[in-house]
């Protein structure tokens, strides 16, 4: 009872915690981006480079000392089994041409004293152009996945059918802008979609007029000042503004999912971790996992019957934390077992664990407080 009263009085105030977390993360990420010209440190799978893995007992430091005489940018690390016994060594250099790979092989052979064959070693390389393309495509995929998730959330929780249709059209237009290879269909398609949008809004009154003026500014901005591939940013902002104006429950879910990505990203960057392609996929998985609990919470609160808001939130909290905790335990156990193999799974698991941890805050403080605020105000 005591807690209920405290929660009733303070649910708005505690929003300051996630708000601070999000702001600090965003500020740090902006600073980081300015410093590094990119939002993450990319590992070899995203910058291009060569990785050689081989079985040996030789120590990491010994090989590192030897190789760094020839290679300024060489990374050496070990892989081991679960008893801690070293299974092999991983050597990474940023070069990808054939000579560089042959030279690296020879240098390693000189140190370890045996031939690297297909039986005792693995080799992996990806060219820098391919890797950079891959990176930009993955980033686009994550941004777009987020937009689509937001659209589905809005379709489920939003109330205005007409605006739902506009959002679908606008998201489709953004998709065409971002992914279409064929330039000739791009511009007419987007213009026609936006004209429909524009015209329908012109006919409506009140809240929609607000959206209308915003759309106008954004669309103007997109077409006059931005190269077409950057259009996704203002269009995304426009979409989220529409969601925020029309449906508070939707934007609460979207905001919580956004925080679930931004905060772990800032932490990963802060610790200087190099993110791989798999790591980016982990952020995508995080979108899916984090909205599960938000959707549960929102449906329970919005569709509740003869139940107080607090009870509905508490019921959802019990279910939701069980969901998140089982996922976290299962992933942590799996991470401990596979950790020493240093595979792509490690980074996926680590990002998921951090993300799920913050999802507890973002769902049960951010989203819960906003939805409580909204439902009580609506009364």
């Amino acid at each position: 009872m005591k807690f209920t009263r405290w929660y009733d009085n303070n649910h708005k105030k505690i929003l300051i915690i996630p708000a601070l977390l999000i702001i600090i993360s965003l500020v740090y990420l902006s600073y980081f981006t300015v410093q590094n010209q990119d939002i993450i440190y990319k590992d070899v799978s995203l910058t291009g480079g060569t990785t050689i893995t081989f079985s040996t007992n030789i120590s990491v430091s010994e090989l590192q000392t030897q190789l760094s005489q020839t290679y300024s940018d060489v990374s050496v690390s070990s892989i081991s089994d679960n008893t801690g016994k070293q299974l092999g060594i991983v050597v990474i250099i940023p070069d990808t041409n054939e000579n560089a790979i042959m030279n690296l092989k020879t240098s390693i052979q000189d140190v370890v004293g045996f031939q690297l064959t297909d039986e005792n070693s693995s080799i992996e390389f990806s060219g820098s152009t391919l890797s950079q393309d891959f990176y930009s495509q993955l980033v686009k995929a994550v941004i777009f996945a987020f937009l689509l998730m937001a659209l589905v959330v809005f379709i489920v929780f939003g109330e205005n059918k007409k605006i739902k249709v506009y959002s679908i059209l606008l998201t489709a237009a953004t998709a065409i802008l971002t992914f279409s290879v064929n330039n000739s269909i791009k511009i007419p398609l987007v213009i026609s979609v936006i004209t429909v949008f524009f015209y329908s809004l012109y006919l409506s009154k009140t809240k929609k007029e607000y959206i209308f003026s915003l759309s106008l500014i954004t669309i103007f901005f997109v077409f006059y000042f931005l190269p077409i591939y950057l259009a996704i940013i203002p269009l995304a902002i426009l979409l989220f503004t529409i969601y925020a104006v029309v449906s508070v429950p939707s934007i609460a879910v979207i905001l919580s999912a956004f925080a679930d990505i931004v905060i772990p990203l800032a932490i990963i960057d802060f610790f200087g971790v190099k993110i791989s392609a798999a790591g980016i996929v982990a952020f995508l998985m995080l979108i899916g996992y984090s909205v599960d609990t938000d959707i549960l919470l929102t449906i329970r609160v919005l569709k509740k019957k003869n139940e107080s808001v607090n009870n509905a939130i508490y019921g959802a909290f019990k279910t939701g934390t069980s969901m998140t905790l089982t996922s976290m335990v299962a992933i942590s156990v799996a991470l401990i077992v596979v950790y020493n193999f240093h595979s792509i799974l490690n980074q996926i698991f680590i990002i998921l664990i951090i993300g799920l941890g913050f999802d507890l805050i973002n769902t049960w403080i951010t989203n819960a407080s906003i939805i409580k605020w909204y439902v009580e105000k609506r009364k």
């Binding site: 297909d118 693995s122 152009t129 495509q137 995929a141 959707i295 596979v338």
Partner: protein, 507 residues
């Protein structure tokens, strides 16, 4: 407990998954060794042994596994004297081969134990090579890519490589690549093999008449009126297609054929020597030379060949396939661009081995972890077991579908399975909790509301995976596809069944 329709559906899918994974009769009960590759143009190949056949006995000695096979082969080898040939009887699951072979005939084929399941693991788990190839400073058109892929497949066949998967892929920027994936051990010069277009040579005796590339062969007809297939008999079809040689190549052809005699046994239709086709230095085919070509400088040549089969359709298709193969070979080296390997991943079979076991252990421990949490939370042993059972059946169904569609399970796919199972457990918790709360409402409605939550969450997951399908030339397609399979079977098959079970436990 009453078994409802939804539960029956789930059981049916589990049964189907088991069949799909282990096949009927189960592959782990099968005896013999499976042939992974046979070198072409060898006596054992000519006697009919092909890839994927299962050898069950040699000289009437039964073969149960690889060990038996190498013992028997070693015993047989010891009976050979010098360079003589011996009669060897090989019983396979399809045909019985009785032939005269030399001592080292077993070098021409590779065998392995029959795989225990029909699940295919990726080259990053079982060892092998995965590469993306594109053209240097040139963006590949679909036609060029298809030609490149046919040529590469043909060349990899020449090397007797098994389990080769060459396919076109494109990324979300619209770039085209050739993806080459070879599981298991592969030759160490494979990088060179796939980064070059290959050498094609046509020789008469030891003299080269023409080589691959636009300089000698200016045109190979692959459609239109210059290409046709005739079937004079039901069991025999003949194909014809035209090629155009450069004047230089035509002159060489005339010089090399003018001193040839006529082959009497051919009924006077052909010359005494054949035109031998070599791919990367290996003879792969021989064509008879018509007498009308003798000593003449002809730039337009008609190439013909035949296909056979039990009926007209079969022989027609055989002819068509042989023709395509020949056209492909003649196009080798003629692609107007240089190739480059954009990415290559060569995993040693030894390094990958321990990892699959570790992943299985990780999975098992994760199961136990989930079981413990569910047990602590609900304090109901029956319910916890049902949850674990449904979770396990979800994995089984994903693996079953993967085996059915020959999906290559790589590390990314395993991450996908983990994602799908995580969502599955979450959804089960929603179902259980939803049935337990607000008893004022009828149970049916509460379950409906749980399924609504689940379906909304499902929709958001599906849409967020879609953009990943093509990103990076499908390098992460494995992840997206397995997750989609997993969450879809979950939502439509296992979760409704689970809801029914929970309802009955609750009632």
């Amino acid at each position: 407990m009453k078994i409802t329709l939804r539960m029956w559906i789930m059981f049916a899918f589990i049964a189907f998954a088991l069949i799909s994974i282990f096949s009927i009769p189960p592959t782990f009960l099968k005896k013999g060794v499976s042939v992974t590759s046979v070198e072409s143009n060898t006596s054992i190949y000519d006697s009919g042994l092909r890839q994927n056949m299962v050898i069950t006995s040699i000289n009437n000695q039964q073969i149960n596994n690889l060990q038996d096979y190498s013992n028997i082969i070693n015993n047989i080898k010891n009976t050979f004297i010098g360079n003589e040939t011996q009669k060897v009887t090989i019983q396979t699951n399809k045909i019985e081969i009785i032939g005269l072979f030399k001592e080292n005939f077993s070098n021409d084929l590779n065998v392995q134990n029959i795989p225990k399941t029909r699940i295919i693991t990726g080259s990053d788990l079982q060892g092998g090579i995965q590469a993306l190839v594109s053209a240097e400073n040139h963006s590949l058109t679909t036609n060029e890519l298809n030609d490149l892929i046919s040529v590469t497949q043909e060349r990899l066949n020449v090397y007797g490589l098994s389990d080769v998967n060459v396919k076109p892929v494109s990324d979300s920027d619209g770039n085209n690549f050739m993806s080459v994936e070879i599981a298991g051990a592969s030759p160490s010069n494979l990088e060179n093999l796939i980064s070059q277009q290959g050498n094609f040579e046509a020789k008469i005796g030891n003299e080269t008449v023409f080589i691959g590339g636009n300089k000698d062969i200016t045109f190979v007809a692959s459609s239109g009126q210059d290409v046709y297939i005739q079937c004079p008999q039901k069991t025999l079809c003949q194909f014809y297609f035209a090629i155009t040689l450069s004047p230089g190549a035509a002159t060489r052809q005339a010089i090399l054929t003018q001193n040839l005699t006529i082959n009497a046994s051919s009924g006077g239709r052909y010359l005494s020597k054949t035109l031998d086709l070599y791919l990367d230095g290996k003879k792969i085919d021989s064509l008879n030379i018509g007498i009308d070509l003798k000593g003449r400088e002809v730039t337009n040549i008609e190439i013909s060949g035949a296909g056979t089969g039990a009926d007209q359709e079969e022989s027609y298709n055989d002819a068509k396939e042989n023709m395509k193969k020949l056209q492909t070979i003649l196009k080798t080296g003629s692609l107007p661009f240089k190739l480059q390997i954009d990415s290559l991943n060569r995993t040693s079979p030894n390094l990958g081995k321990g990892f699959i076991n570790t992943i299985l252990i990780a999975g098992l421990l994760a199961f136990i972890g989930v079981f413990a949490i569910v047990l602590i939370r609900y304090k109901k042993i029956k319910l916890s077991f049902v949850m674990i059972f449904v979770m396990a059946s979800e994995i089984l169904i994903i693996l079953g579908i993967a085996a059915l569609i020959h999906w290559n399970l790589n590390l990314a796919s395993i991450a996908g399975i983990i994602a799908a199972i995580g969502t599955g457990v979450d959804d089960q918790i929603v179902i259980v909790d939803e049935t337990k709360r607000s008893k004022s409402e009828p149970l049916k409605r509460r379950i409906k509301s749980a399924l609504f939550i689940i379906f909304t969450a499902y929709a958001t997951s599906v849409v967020s995976l879609l953009p990943l399908l093509n990103a990076g030339a499908g390098l992460l397609k494995g992840f997206a596809v397995t997750t989609l399979i997993g969450i879809t079977t979950g939502v439509f098959i296992t979760r409704p069944a689970f809801a029914d079970i929970v309802r009955q436990l609750e009632e």
